[in-house]
């Protein structure tokens, strides 16, 4: 056994110099790439929250200042839309805070544990809440239809409602894909963690 491992070690040592020679990326390029990565991570972390915040501001401006809805149903509808998005923004920010607990320089076990906790949080909170908010948003939107139909020609109301339905289906497919991907990631991390801590 010992001899065999020594043989393997000798074989391994031979590869060292070749490995080193092959990597030619200079330090300044790495730093530039590092800075770019930082920015893209920031964009990924806060991008969703920013886009959603901009949407909320637009909706607030439109519903509260520009267009004064009269029907109670409409009030409930747009508040459902805005309220859902605000909750979603809160979740996005909380999710970013949770994700920052994953440290690349932790021990592998700890890093995998925090990753598992993060993905489990996403599965518990993100999935069901996202679906609820999504449904609430579209119900809210359709609650505006009766008042819209008082001022807009029927064909435009039909076009508007059916477009919303198509957008809803496309978004639902994207959300489903994202949730399934995160579930697969979670399974893989759990598998890695088990492989790391198992003693046999």
């Amino acid at each position: 056994m010992k001899d065999e491992l020594d043989d393997i070690k000798a074989m391994w040592q031979q590869t060292k110099e070749i490995s080193r020679q092959h990597n030619t990326t200079d330090v300044h390029t790495l730093i530039a790439l590092g800075e770019t990565k930082k920015k893209s991570m920031m964009a990924a972390h806060y991008g969703n929250a920013l886009v959603l915040s901009a949407t909320v501001l637009m909706l607030v401006f439109y519903f509260y200042y520009l267009y004064h809805f009269q029907m109670t149903l409409s009030h409930i509808g747009y508040n459902l839309m805005i309220g859902g998005l605000v909750i979603r923004i809160g979740i996005e920010i909380f999710s970013v805070i949770r994700s920052k607990r994953i440290k690349i320089s932790d021990t592998a076990t700890h890093s995998l544990e925090t990753s598992i906790a993060f993905y489990q949080f996403r599965r518990r909170i993100h999935g069901p809440v996202t679906i609820f908010i999504f449904i609430a948003y579209f119900i809210g939107f359709y609650m505006l239809t009766p008042e819209f139909s008082k001022y807009i020609a029927l064909q435009w109301v039909i076009i508007m409602d059916s477009s919303a339905l198509v957008i809803g289906i496309v978004l639902a497919l994207f959300i489903r894909r994202g949730i399934l991907q995160e579930l697969r990631d979670l399974e893989k991390i759990v598998e890695l963690q088990k492989s790391l801590v198992k003693e046999k």
Partner: protein, 168 residues
Amino acid sequence: MNQTDLSTFQTLHSQYLGMVMNLCRGFMKGDMDKASDLAQDVFINVWNALPGYRAEASYKTWIYRITVNTCLLQIRRDKNKIKVPLEAAIHTMEQNTSTEQAENEKILYRAIGQLDEVERLAIMMVLEEVEYEEIARILGITENNLRVKIHRIKTKLKDLIENERRIG
């Protein structure tokens, strides 16, 4: 950009590039190009984590941790990227080595490539002659657990190498 960080990073890069490349190469089943990309990711992560370094572990242990986590992170970020077909990896490797070394390396990387990700990382650190105590600190498991694991991996690797020699 902090001048101290820059100079520390330059030192770390020159000192540990070989170590990181070896681990990445083994993890990527001998594929040098993919190993280079992975090593680049490791040092990008080192640069970004550098302001948070608190000297609780040596730089070597710290960089090993980042390397191991980057490898494991790679698996979940882009599973297709990590699945280097063994034949493709060996082909890349043969282009970079003399015929004499090629056979040995082929056998070694074929065998290592058949271990699972965690086994691969652990045995490569053993081959790099990292102390068991330090490997345990890098992986975050007990030394006893590590010894059991390494014993099992050695046996498995020995069988895999013998098998590769037989068919190779």
